[in-house]
């Protein structure tokens, strides 16, 4: 039985993957500018929203959220989530080729495990067919 998705849906999963990675990286960059936030001064987290890096991260993460929610309308949560994990691999490649960071053998092994994990679900069905779903299709 074929489980192939249309190209547009793979493109949406690609946006989910990139959005999570880029958004987290921008937030991390911004919060290092802000510095440590004490639990007694949580209001300073709202001040962080004025930081351009944090603001850019939020904009990217809103795009990620829209893609993610659309994907969840036609796929299982346990199918979509590994796509977001691929974002960690993207982050490592950004570090390697753009920031010229040293990637240890352990990190390469981590990348291999994530890619294998995503491969397990990518070839499977994207959605669990419940009895109610099947009845709706028949009707």
């Amino acid at each position: 039985m074929s489980h192939r998705l249309p190209a547009s849906r793979y493109l949406l999963l690609f946006c989910v993957m990139l959005g999570a990675a880029v958004g987290d990286a921008l937030l991390g960059r911004g919060m290092h500018d802000i510095g440590p936030v004490s639990i007694h001064h949580l209001s300073s987290l709202f001040y962080a929203l004025g930081n351009p890096w944090v603001f850019s991260g939020i904009v990217v993460l809103i795009g990620f959220m829209a893609s993610y929610m659309t994907a969840l309308s036609w796929a299982d949560l346990t199918f979509v989530l590994p796509a977001t994990a691929l974002g960690n691999v993207v982050t490592v490649f950004i570090g390697k080729f753009w920031l010229h960071e040293n990637i240890s053998p352990m990190r390469w092994l981590g990348i291999c495990l994530i890619v294998i994990g995503v491969g397990f679900v990518a070839n499977g069905p994207s959605r669990t067919e419940h009895v109610i779903d099947l009845e709706e299709k028949v009707a």
Partner: protein
């Protein structure tokens, strides 16, 4: 043995991120699953589809949980490196969400998906080293 405040703060906020992100994921997935977006778009256009999505109570609860998760993440990032926080939250959330999807969404989390969750969890943990 006394645990340093910074370590306690980091892992408390990481736990908060994991719990709220899992609750948010499950609520959002449940609300999105109950909508037939293609049919709504065909009938009411993109605006109608957006309105149908943003007025779902379970989705609003899910977004609220995600907002809590976001501020927990910010708090965590303020005291710890992204290279620790992002992989730790992502790997723990992948396992808790798979469990929650099986229990609350009745998803068919078969052997292949469990293996995927375990491989992703181990891979993300290795990325943090």
């Amino acid at each position: 043995m006394v645990i340093p405040y910074s370590t306690l703060h980091t892992w408390t906020t990481i736990a908060a991120v994991v719990v709220t992100a899992t609750a948010g994921d499950i609520s959002i997935a449940r609300s999105m699953r109950s909508l037939d977006l293609d049919a709504i778009r065909a009938k009411s256009g993109l605006g109608g589809a957006i309105l149908a999505v943003v007025t779902k109570p379970t989705l609003i609860f899910g977004i609220f949980c995600m907002a809590l998760s976001f501020f927990s993440l910010l708090s965590s990032l303020s005291g710890a490196d992204l290279s620790l926080v992002a992989p730790a939250t992502a790997s723990l959330t992948s396992v808790t969400t798979a469990l929650a999807a099986k229990v609350f969404l009745k998803e068919n989390v078969d052997r292949r998906r469990w293996l995927a969750a375990v491989f992703v969890c181990a891979g993300v943990a290795l990325l943090a080293r």
